[in-house]
Amino acid sequence: MDNQPKRLNQRKWSIHLFPIPALAIYLLFIVYPIIAAFSYSLYDWQGIKRLSFVGVSNFKKLLTVEPFNTMFQNALEHNVIYFVVQMVVQNGFAFLLAYFIYQRIKGSGFLKVAYFLPRLLSVIVVGFLWKLILNPTYGTLNVLLDKLGLDALALTWLGDPNTALLSIILVNCWFGVGLSLLIFLAGLQSIPSEIIEAARLDGVKGFRMIATMILPLIMQPLIMITVLTFIQSFEAFELVYAMQGSMGGPYYSTDTLAVFFYRTAFGGSSDGSASIGIGSALAVVMFALIAVITAFFLALTRKVNRS
């Protein structure tokens, strides 16, 4: 610490140019547009034409007036479900498979590649691909179930409010399992082998090994995955849009906040119901929600790092 000032003095003023390009691009193309968009929420709009300044009335409308409040609540619930199912199914399986690979399952190199491959498709491609696979009459899944004599299980996946949301989330899990797996695996492989060996000699094994020894040691990747999953599930848009369109159908059963935003800000596919004021208010609420919860997770990471 004591030789710090001397080092600083040696630096030329030009060091301050280092962060300028990144900062300029970032402020110009991310911060400015989002702040401008937020300001839209304080105005009244007629279609896409800005009228007068109305303060927080768009927020009031969004949160208290039918049908916006019901839609908001409905979409928010779906985002929460989205997050929970992804955490349990996608990240649960990701951990299990990562643990298998960590234990040197045969062909683990190939398996890693296989699990990860879907992550390289674009979300829009994934959406359209699975829309074709889940088609009730011509889709591969139902044909396969039919052939196996399981036609009772050949459901109307995307056409039934009871299964549509879950189908989409599971497709998302299919897409995302590889990345979570790799993060878990990197975490597992960074555990010093002596610790595991010592525990093993003490007779710790199986689930007790995972629960008491391994999980605490991979807290940081786990939080990382939780943050990534959280942000992604609360911004879920493309998959729903590709598979169900901008209405989040059937009967709003797959609506998410981002789809609701798209619909309010731009209108449906053929009607004139665009309402930029309310859409922007929704954007502000979404941002606040995501920022607060992510900040909480990040604070948690710091705590874990320190201990």
Partner: protein, 274 residues
Amino acid sequence: MRPSMTYRTIQHLIGYAFAVLSLYPVFLMIASSFKTTIAIFTHPLALPEKISFVAYDKLLDQMPFGHYLWNSVLVSGASVALILISSAFAAYYISRTHYKWNSALLFIFLLGMMIPIKLGIVPLFLLMKNLGLSNTLWSLILIYTAIGIPLGIMIMAGFFKTLPKELEEAGRIDGCNDMQILSRIVIPLMRPAIGTVMIINFVTAWNDFFFPLIFIQDEVMKTIQVGMMSLFGEYESDWSTLFAGLTLASLPMVLMFVFASRQFMDGMTAGAVK
């Protein structure tokens, strides 16, 4: 103490079942693209009896696929290069100098990871227009660069912190300035972080369809994802062509992955667990 035989068997069963589940849809997409639409409807599970290139002929005939591909390469490549350069400088500044505003600066950048920038599409479009960039590939390159910077800085700043200070000290004693330390000593050591930033952002830029949809109007300026997606308006019931379009949109990335799968997988995660 070795795991039991039963456990081993179950482990392999689950592991390989999952591999099939991961690969089959992708395989189906490729296989179906070589079938005729009638064959897809009547025998959806069968392998193509004879390989039919009809769908591909139709696609390549009707759309400037070469343009799409080139645009995608250009946009993804250029934005990755810009992200690397600008984040490396900023990250070096944040983690290797000790000004009191450094942590605030890092925080401002990190905030960007939570901003759903699609919500700002209208002002962004207006900005691009005022800068004379709308309907150019620059609009895409700049927005992808801006989107990639926060993560780039986070990963690289994390990486810089792990580098031993002595290296730098040694360089300084030899009379190097900051620029020389960064370029001669630090960057060559940063390969893993560079790989991570590069791959994550390349995949993101390559697979995005939202920004080119809004920013680009000219057919010859479109990227692969948007170009292919317009198919879904044109060939709604022609599944063979749809599968071929999906395959073409994904193939370049999948091929690159097959050739460099380790780089990809290390890259996607190396920075994440630092």
